[in-house]
Symmetry: C2
Subunit: 689 residues, 2 copies
Amino acid sequence: MHAPAGGLLAALALVFGTAAAFAPMPRITWEHREVGLVQFREPGIYNYSALLMSEDGDTLYVGAREAIFALEASDISRKQREVYWKVSEDKKAKCAEKGKSKQTECLNYIRVLQPLSATTLYVCGTNAFQPTCDHLDLASFKFLGKNEDGKGRCPFDPAHSYTSVMVDGELYSGTSYNFLGSEPIISRNSSHSPLRTEYAIPWLNEPSFVFADVIRRSPSEGEDDRVYFFFTEASVEYEFVFKLMIPRVARVCRGDQGGLRTLQKKWTSFLKARLICSRPDSGLVFNVLQDVFVLRAAGLKEPVFYALFTPQLNNVGLSAVCAYNLSTVEAVFSRGKYMQSATVEQSHTKWVRYNGPVPSPRPGACIDREARAANYTSSLNLPDKTLQFVKDHPLMDDSVSPIDNRPKLIKQNVNYTQIVVDRTQALDGTTYDVMFVSTDRGALHKAVSLESEVHIIEETQLFPNSEPVQTLLLSSKKGRRFVYAGANSGVVQAPLAFCEKHSSCEDCVLARDPYCAWSPPAAACMALHQAEGPHRGWIQEMSGDASLCPGSPPQIKKGERGGGRAALTAGLPAATSGSLVFGADKVKESYRQHFFKHGGTAELRCALKSNLARVVWKFQNSVLKAESPKYGLMGRKNLLIFNLSEGDSGVYQCLSEERVRNKTVSQVVAKHVLEVKVVPRTPAAPTLQ
Amino acid sequence: MHAPAGGLLAALALVFGTAAAFAPMPRITWEHREVGLVQFREPGIYNYSALLMSEDGDTLYVGAREAIFALEASDISRKQREVYWKVSEDKKAKCAEKGKSKQTECLNYIRVLQPLSATTLYVCGTNAFQPTCDHLDLASFKFLGKNEDGKGRCPFDPAHSYTSVMVDGELYSGTSYNFLGSEPIISRNSSHSPLRTEYAIPWLNEPSFVFADVIRRSPSEGEDDRVYFFFTEASVEYEFVFKLMIPRVARVCRGDQGGLRTLQKKWTSFLKARLICSRPDSGLVFNVLQDVFVLRAAGLKEPVFYALFTPQLNNVGLSAVCAYNLSTVEAVFSRGKYMQSATVEQSHTKWVRYNGPVPSPRPGACIDREARAANYTSSLNLPDKTLQFVKDHPLMDDSVSPIDNRPKLIKQNVNYTQIVVDRTQALDGTTYDVMFVSTDRGALHKAVSLESEVHIIEETQLFPNSEPVQTLLLSSKKGRRFVYAGANSGVVQAPLAFCEKHSSCEDCVLARDPYCAWSPPAAACMALHQAEGPHRGWIQEMSGDASLCPGSPPQIKKGERGGGRAALTAGLPAATSGSLVFGADKVKESYRQHFFKHGGTAELRCALKSNLARVVWKFQNSVLKAESPKYGLMGRKNLLIFNLSEGDSGVYQCLSEERVRNKTVSQVVAKHVLEVKVVPRTPAAPTLQ
């Protein structure tokens, strides 16, 4: 009558293995007040959702609700220019008449902020449910008053999804085309060849757009540039207890001119495919796209799409990152099978693999050298058979699988919102893709994939009020680089690393941060790419092996215990007499002596930053058992010693023990020397040396 | 380029609303050592997975690995009888030759333990992958040596699923029929009419059986008894990124004799349907059955199936309970639409609703009065058309929806394994279905559905080693009743309630435990159904309204603060001098005075049981801010006062504030009176009154 014992046990082991495996903890948590981040916020202005870097990398353009700012990229608290674009009272009233909120919806949310030329930006806003676009002159920082209809480029409703990319002065965008948001569209705004998607379920089925970008092809090979769109839509090919969402990548060709009769002014090159991001062994399916970042880097053979996902089903806080090679995506479009819909028993539709003959030229293909050779010089002279086929078969049967066939990162108890990725070279020449992912609670996680694990180097609280991060941008300039984050309340500028905060060589190495290395001459943890090379003698070990650190003791291997070396740090006395609190500070090989009153209580502080380390307290070199009647732990780190007597005099050490790859690095974090004495009653003055 | 702000925010609110809503916290946690539970374990015997109560309710039969025990139901530590059924060395060797483990798999796991007659039990065991059944004579507690082939009644592999129920001396079982476990079967072991399922995917598709039971019908209405099977199987009707599981209920009729030609010796009454347990608004789908309990009770119009689920997808610790009315299940079988499979494009199969004509008599129906009137007196003379139809259409298109169309309970961060439900009457006559659900970590949760919420009355740690609970059984006897739980290490007997542990009327009422009420004459919280009625003047409020308690102050309404009444409890001094620890105890309206040394630290204890209450500390009737330099909290409850001086002398009170339905009940849990004095140095003796 019961679930099978063995099966149940196996299933549970899976669940628990899962839970543990998907909860990588950030090694260090930087509270907002600990890291003085440069911020920008303008009183009365909210929703800083559009960020754009100037071509020279010196200026950060910020699109917010009813305003656009130009900020100094190296210090965004310095505002260079500003311009406001407010909704007229008349328009606001009309919008409110349609049942929308005057305070929140009937305003102008900037949704498109793209470079149009060297001197102008292309800007679109929701404009109280009347989407409008204009040109912003960068010299005067004034709008040119173009007042273009923004339908199809910018959503009506600030709650609706949107994405756009400017390619050679033509805007490619994905959003909704009407007031209700019920007509989705992917379009090109072009004076000589405007194109759009068919309004049909097989083309777009309740999509939620998250990203678009252009991938350039070498013209020498006669290949056309492609524009990729990323979105989540309602699935036609899958069914479950309720409607399933599916993440997609779609692409169109820049040279597409539409068809002559069939698909007139419509894309002839629109194809879309499923993105797979799952862990079948653990029952994990990530099918809601949150954001995409295109990683392009010098040493990288081809661009890589980093995509951020959450699950649709049973999501109580799970996020994942999957990465896709451009060539994998292209292979699905250029060589994959198509899907076709079939009618079952008159009333049902099932999408299955199409196994019939495919017309030539291949439906949905860009016009390349081969097509031109066959006399198809433009999409306008493609045969009707090809066009009709692509019209009916925009969906590929093959799926796009991620690199290594599994997510790069799975994290529990978090909802990631945005991602940017930086490819950097460690001291030994190895390259690492550093993922910066923001959360819905105002934090930024910095993660790298190491051999067999994901390591979250640090978590930084960018916004103290825990608001969702809406957008991330990575600075493109050499030298001191930053991540910019936009949220409802403002914009924050964070450095890529906090190297200088690691005060010992061991901490610098244990951080396993490819941006940071220990410089023995400077006796400091330093940012690798800010100082001029070669970094001779600098120490960085992405394995976390700290044994190369000067004066480092032999590391404790698995199973062993004890060891530890001379004090790195010493306690400083606080100013109360009965219960003294010691803050650990960086005073090498030295400490002070303190006198305590008999019968009192001492609290010994241990300022440990690593969330991956455990605290061990020693008294006269013996490990103490906390939570005995004599001792207690406060805040999991600090030691309380109750009812002090002469026997408690001596040396107390707080050790941090951190395990990295079966090796334990033990460091003395704080050293306190206590002397307990009978002190005559004096109400105030502390009896310190 | 970004997810829409509004949409994102809405989505996140959903996720977080979800997370909070699905984490009802047990009000009280009973550690294993706090509640002295009666246990049974026999040295060297493991896997106590089969529990059976004798008809008179006096004896608990326990089937474990290679052993069966008879225990006294009122005190299971008293073993009455035992019998061992070990695998011969010869068989063990043969089993090991087939690649199975001698230590774990090639043993005899008791999987069937059913009453055959008043004097015999029917027992089957895996018997080293040679399933065998025997009769156990209760008088001698010896096996009769029947040595029946257990194929189809008991799995070969202890890891495979199984379920069975004895109906009038015939065993109905669901399990696998072969060594590999690849041939599933639902069968009736009967000398005059053995029946089984077709071996075909539409009938059973990789099922995992969890439960079976018989529902009797009144013979006066000419209706046949039905046997219901509950299992999870691979879905044929749904598809996603990977194979989807689906929970099912199937039923067969007791009077089924199989067909004459078509379906010879096969069920002619086998139909199955989907069970729905989901929350579409939150994206929650529970599609893996863990256990089922049939609730039958005097006042209950019809039996109710309580089913325990976990999700298949993205399950990192979620469980739910859904309840189904018998009539809802029956309506689907007797009036619902069937599903049919259709072939799409030669190679794909899609299951869709069958809309064609249904033969008569209705396929899969039991032989009832109406059928007999039409001269179909037995399944043997059903027309071929009906039989062929049921053979091809065993799956219903209609689903079985739960009561109120939503789960009774959803709980995060837990994996529930088993469920039993007790229907009980509160003091005011209202009936409550109390759900006892066990976890994979050895705990038992006791929950009731109240008006708009689920209330987990308490959590009891049944097994100290946190092993999964494999089976639960509710005692059927009147008077002192118990829940019995079997796990790998042994069996535990727990009372349905711990009323006497609530020491005040407020605590008794706040427990919102339908089994408990406050008796003013006895000044104790008492079990309602153990004492003789009428319980005049007893106090029980399932709303948690404690204002009826004698001497209770007016309750604090939402928003207000302060209040509180005279001390309920007073601190008792501990035996150390510098840092005194006070344990709160039940000493009404009294307290002692204690002297502390100047400069010392005091720890004031507050023994609060409720996980739903928050702690408020007051000094001389003003609320203290903990975590200031002067005060600290230890273990979230106890107050630390540092650096004592004369000004700290006075009355300290620990209040528990518990909110129930917008009302806050405030109780003084501990009261401590401190006097700080300069005490001459004496090394040991505490200076207490």
